[in-house]
């Protein structure tokens, strides 16, 4: 800091500075009193985060080396759970099914909200209505969705009636192993694209209008404007949503469980569903957690990627 020059004005400044630094770094004694409320406010949250989040996360690693038995107590079994899991041919099958499901979600579901958001942003009339209609399926509860779409996909349901108009043979969408996964992806796209669409729409609408004006004056056509202005401006958002979708779809099991229970002939048995079945049908919690740990290792790579991108954007 250097020698203080003594003059009335400076002295005042110095005292202010000194008192400010005191309040920032108080002496040891006053520490507790000053921050008591702050710590008191944090204690319940820290306790709950430890007991209900960190303990399960760490126990997950530990339990994967144990045979869990609620009656006789847990016994250490080393890598037995992992060996068991790797010898089960269903694991490989479920990984393949999950990758197939993720691919279908990309091919069928990923581009829809992007295209829809650009299209809806261009609507001159009924924009609000289209927005609400697109989002409405998202608030339909899961159980209602399953009942609704079982009927939609029924061999005598509306979709087959529509196909009948075009002279196609009826398809049993759900019970036919070739169609079952596709049907699930269509159903989920129907339900979920509205929320992704709104996120993209916010991105599209935040692009300054005069960029389009300038591009048009320079002779850029409509497609060129979309290709060189709209899509590049949304690039970060699209990549972020892609990673979020990959993280989400790699863990999917609820629709597969509710509609088909992994059938027909294990065609919709995803990895997460297999984990759930290990734990709650066969009651083999050890093997279930071992599968969870393997999943965690793979997904943490994606998680780190998402974190980096998130930081870039915000």
């Amino acid at each position: 800091m250097g020698e203080p020059v003594i003059s009335p004005g400076n002295m005042q400044q110095n005292t202010v500075k000194a008192s400010a630094s005191v309040s920032r770094k108080p002496r040891r004694g006053s520490n507790w009193k000053q921050y008591m409320w702050g710590y008191l406010f944090l204690v319940p949250a820290i306790a709950i985060f430890i007991v209900f989040l960190w303990v399960p996360i760490i126990k997950g690693m530990v339990y994967s080396f144990y045979n869990i038995d609620f009656v006789k107590g847990n016994t250490f079994v080393g890598f037995d759970n992992y060996v068991k899991v790797f010898h089960n041919p269903d694991v490989l099958l479920s990984v393949r099914n999950t990758l197939y499901y993720m691919l279908l979600c990309l091919v069928i579901g990923f581009w829809v909200p992007i295209a829809a958001s650009i299209a809806i942003s261009e609507l001159r009339w009924f924009q609000g209505f289209a927005r609400i209609a697109a989002y409405l399926p998202f608030v339909v509860p899961g159980v209602v969705l399953y009942g609704m779409w079982r009927w939609m996909y029924d061999p005598v349901g509306p979709i087959n009636a529509l196909l009948g108009w075009f002279g196609a043979d009826p398809v049993s969408f759900i019970s036919d192993g070739r169609w079952s996964m596709v049907s699930i992806v269509f159903m989920e796209t129907w339900q979920q694209f509205g929320s992704a669409m709104l996120i993209y729409l916010a991105g599209v609408l935040s692009i300054p209008r005069d960029w389009y004006e300038a591009a048009e004056i320079d002779g850029a056509g409509v497609w060129a404007r979309i290709k060189y202005i709209t899509l590049p401006s949304m690039r970060n958002l699209i990549v972020l949503m892609l990673i979020l979708q990959l993280i989400g779809t790699s863990q999917a099991y609820q629709s597969q469980l509710a509609l088909l229970d992994g059938g027909p002939n294990k065609a919709t048995l995803t990895y997460a569903l297999l984990t759930v079945k290990y734990a709650f049908t066969q009651l083999d919690y050890g093997a279930g957690t071992a599968l969870g740990v393997l999943m965690f290792i793979v997904l943490s790579v994606l998680g780190v990627l998402q974190y980096k991108l998130n930081k870039e954007e915000y």
Binding site: Y35, W37, G38, L42, P44, A45, I48, F49, V51, F52, L53, P56, I57, G60, Y63, A116, A119, S121, E122, L123, A130, A133, A134, Y135, L136, P137, V139, P141, V143, V144, Y146, G147, M148, W149, R150, W151, P158, W190, S195, I199, A202, Y212, E216, V222, I226, M241, I247, Q251, Y253, A258, T275, A279, Y285, T289, G292, F296, S300, G303, Y307, N310
Partner: protein
């Protein structure tokens, strides 16, 4: 034309663009219809006779309006009890979120105790661990704590949500610090300034969180079906899944009227709180 988008008014003068724009509008119309058709059909199927629901090809409007399906559906399972359970979980979770996470985020954002950075990361780190990888140990943990089949198995873990924590912390960061300084000079304790200043100012974020928590409580069927194992504790969604979706001998028309009744509250919540929800959707883009 006041505003331009990607297209300008002069673009629409060209015939090719006109055709493409028309096609695009048609696509959106088809999309809107596809979105609304299954929802409308759930309602109309609930008003048809059982025979008519199962006839092929399906008709849109019922031939006869069977309003008596609704009392039948209401009495098919004990809906009020399941509704009560769902609302209990919703209320407890909301209270827990506001009390535990609200206080914690207030402390991190406003009081800035020593090591608050470390605590912040301790909470935020959980966002990056995929939920399904610790679902089973979580269940085993609840079982070992003896919380299975109690509401505490939902209420207590509701205080461990890093995403809601982050939303509230960001909101508190946006409140002017002068307000709190003024309160402190007037002799308010931290507790008073949370309760009397931060909470009233935070109604928008609490409303957003309330909608999130409501939709989770209303929609989640799988986790409650594991945690609650006696019928009198089932939530609405779990009960519908067990007794309606998986029912073998049940009139389809009654099934649809139950589904319709379950679908109505979230739709009304959505239509009523549209502005909050539309905003909260863009918040969820930041979700990890």
């Amino acid at each position: 034309m006041k505003e331009r988008g990607i297209l300008s008014p002069s673009d629409l003068q060209k015939p090719l663009n006109k055709v493409v724009y028309g096609l695009m509008c048609l696509c959106i119309a088809v999309m809107t219809f596809t979105m609304l058709y299954p929802i409308a059909m759930t309602m109309f199927n609930g008003l048809k006779s059982n025979q008519e629901v199962n006839s092929f090809p399906p008709r849109f409007f019922p031939k006869e309006w069977h309003w008596d399906n609704f009392p039948k559906a209401w009495n098919y399972i004990d809906l009020p009890m399941f509704l009560k359970n769902t609302l209990l979980i919703f209320g407890g979770n909301l209270l827990m979120t506001i009390l535990v996470l609200g206080l914690a985020s207030f402390s991190i954002s406003r009081i800035r105790v020593p090591y608050s950075r470390a605590i912040y990361f301790f909470i935020l780190l959980t966002l990056f661990i995929p939920a399904s990888s610790y679902m089973i140990p979580n269940f085993v943990n609840l079982k070992e704590l003896g919380l299975l089949n109690t509401y505490w198995a939902f209420w207590l873990p509701a205080g461990a949500n890093a995403y809601y924590f982050l939303l509230m912390k960001n909101f508190f960061d946006g409140i002017h610090p002068e307000i709190f300084e003024a309160a402190r000079i007037d002799g308010a304790s931290e507790w008073t300034s949370y309760l009397r200043i931060a909470v009233p100012l935070s109604v928008p974020i609490f409303a957003t969180l309330a909608i999130f928590i409501f939709s989770t409580a209303w929609n989640d069927w799988f986790w409650p079906s594991l945690v609650m194992h006696t019928e009198d504790k089932y939530t609405l969604a779990t009960a519908i899944y067990k007794y309606v979706i998986n029912a073998r001998n049940m009139d389809s028309s009654v099934k649809f009227s139950i589904l319709f009744m379950v679908m109505i509250p979230p739709i009304f919540v959505f239509l009523g709180f549209q502005k909050f929800i539309m905003r909260s959707v863009s918040l969820s883009a930041v979700k990890g």
